[in-house]
């Protein structure tokens, strides 16, 4: 991987929640305009790693982050960095669809209004909904409550809401785990489409999903101390067909986890 292809870089990351060590010595680069999947057994720190990437972990009481995370060669944990600005560039989609109890339009426009956007809000809302493959389904009811949408539609709305503020990176925390198979396929297709413009990091429990959507895969696990660490990472094809570490092979073939 050459330097300019790396959009996000994690070096020697250690994360504690109070006394509990959640991640130890994780170093990992994320490639521009590619989908990187984080896989591993429950509790191995995949979501923690993801939340560190846009400083959402700041909101967890007692969380302590050590090490370095750089976004476009800028340390996002440096003094003087505004986490809100970081999150504008590194957006996040959550496990459970969490639209605001507002209209569909205002959900997508929320981030724009928040940041004092001066341009044509309606145009951005339409573009974002089109990018999230939701426009045709909602164009006639933009001013209805987002709560009237199905779970899968709600999750695509959340993606549209994230796209509207034009981030460079989108973090997704098991975005399809609360959805039915049809909703899941829609999200997976969307991830592939979005990779043209965005760099995507996705946490998933679903091996097939990781194999289907990702270009790169990182496998994390933990030992008895329950502190997560990185076992190996690389191109998804290599990880799935020819893993270097036998633990990776055991996990992806379903022998544990």
């Amino acid at each position: 991987m050459t330097g300019s292809d790396t959009i996000l870089s994690v070096k020697n990351l250690n994360v504690h929640y109070g006394e509990f060590k959640a991640l130890k010595n994780v170093s990992l680069d994320f490639t521009r305009n590619k989908v990187t999947a984080l896989i591993g057994p429950s509790g191995c720190g995949k979501s923690t790693l993801l939340k560190c990437l846009n400083r959402m972990n700041d909101l967890v009481p007692e969380a302590k982050v050590e090490g370095e995370i750089t976004f476009e060669n800028q340390d996002i944990y440096e003094a003087g960095i505004d986490p809100a600005q970081v999150r504008l560039h590194i957006g996040m989609v959550f496990q459970k669809p969490n639209p605001f109890p507002k209209t569909i339009f205002n959900n997508v426009a929320f981030g724009l209004k928040l940041n004092g956007f001066k341009g044509d809000i309606e145009e951005v809302v339409e573009t974002s909904l089109r990018q999230a493959a939701l426009w045709d389904e909602v164009k006639d009811r933009l001013h209805k409550s987002a709560m009237t949408l199905s779970g899968g539609q709600q999750q695509r709305l959340c993606i549209a809401r994230t796209l509207a503020v034009e981030p460079q990176v989108i973090l997704m925390d098991e975005p399809a785990s609360a959805l039915d198979p049809i909703g899941t396929i829609a999200i997976e297709n969307l991830m592939r489409d979005l990779a043209d413009k965005y760099s995507i990091v996705v946490v998933t429990h679903n091996m097939q999903q990781a194999a289907r959507v990702s270009d790169y895969t990182a496998f994390l696990m933990m030992d008895d101390d329950r502190a997560g660490y990185l076992v190996e990472s690389g191109e998804t094809d290599v990880i799935f067909q020819n893993p270097q570490d036998e633990r990776t092979e055991a996990y992806i073939t379903g022998r544990f986890g």
């Binding site: 959402m56 996040m92 959550f94 639209p99 507002k102």
Partner: protein
């Protein structure tokens, strides 16, 4: 058919269980009935005694020695003055305190103690607040026995109620909505302003209205700070002396002449109507704000 493999018919055991269920349900209905009976007879008695005394002049006249001439005008206006000023104090302070405790205060022993104390304060007898108001507002702050002193005293009395209920409303806003806003680059203040507050407002309104409803019916603390009973003028500034409806009602009830009993009942009717109106306004605004926040 008799040849069925399983016996699905009622037997003695299942009959017993059904009877027990009925008895339990009957007991529950009985307790509701007792509540309604008590409330109903009270209301009936008040309406029976008070309705003949209700008239336009009852609303527009000042109190008098003669029951036929007496009105409740000064008490109504006094109550409106006092409640309005109390609302001006408790809404910003109560909601502010609730937001601080819920969103900013660190969760430690100190905040825990504070929390328990606030809940306990809601249970302190109101006469204690009256004495506190007398000492602090009337005498120490030298406000005199004024509308301002009265409303500050009532504000102290009901602040715990509005704080506790507002906190519940704030707490009920899902973290997932807050996180979503943070992930879109919102600052903490923006999250509170754009996500938490709009969703908490209906609950805060309920808290406010409950607090004010409690305040409007309080006689004891007002007696302690010596609001007047017999006044024949209306307050024109917050520093004027005043009377409130519960005091007027209390005064009428304690008089020997038969006519004043009817006046007291009529006063209670007016007080109930004002309470109902306040609740109606609260429900209406709550529904409106809820709808607006969801757009």
């Amino acid at each position: 058919m008799d040849s069925s493999k399983f016996n699905l018919k009622l037997n003695n055991d299942s009959k017993n269980r059904i009877v027990k269920g009925f008895i339990f349900q009957a007991l529950l209905i009985l307790s509701v009935a007792i509540c309604l009976l008590g409330l109903g007879s009270l209301l009936f008695e008040i309406l029976r005694e008070g309705l003949p005394w209700l008239s336009w002049h009852f609303l527009t006249d000042f109190p008098s020695r003669f029951p036929e001439k007496a009105g409740i005008k000064s008490a109504i206006f006094g109550t409106i003055w006092v409640i309005t000023f109390a609302a001006l104090f408790i809404i910003p302070i109560g909601v502010g305190a609730a937001f601080y405790l819920e969103e900013y205060a660190r969760k430690n022993i100190f905040s825990k103690i504070l929390e328990i104390n606030i809940s306990n304060l809601a249970g302190v007898p109101s006469i204690v607040y009256g004495l506190l108001g007398l000492a602090v507002f009337v005498q120490f702050m030298n406000l005199g026995r004024s509308v301002l002193a009265g409303s500050l005293t009532l504000a102290l009395l009901v602040l715990p109620i509005i704080i506790v209920i507002s906190r519940e409303a704030i707490k009920s806003v899902p973290d997932s909505h807050k996180n979503a806003a943070y992930a879109l680059g919102a600052s903490k203040f923006q999250v509170i302003q754009k996500i938490v507050l709009p969703q908490a407002i209906p609950g805060i309104m309920t808290g406010t209205i409950l607090a004010l409803s409690r305040a409007i019916g309080e006689a004891a603390p007002m007696i302690a700070i010596s609001a007047l009973v017999y006044i024949t003028f209306l307050p024109t500034t917050p520093m004027d002396r005043f009377s409130v409806m519960p005091i007027q009602i209390f005064n009428w009830i304690s008089r020997p002449q038969e006519g004043f009993k009817g006046l007291a009942a009529a006063g209670i009717i007016i007080l109930l109507i004002i309470l109902l109106l306040m609740n109606a306004v609260a429900v209406y605004t709550r529904n409106r704000t809820q709808k607006r926040s969801e757009e």
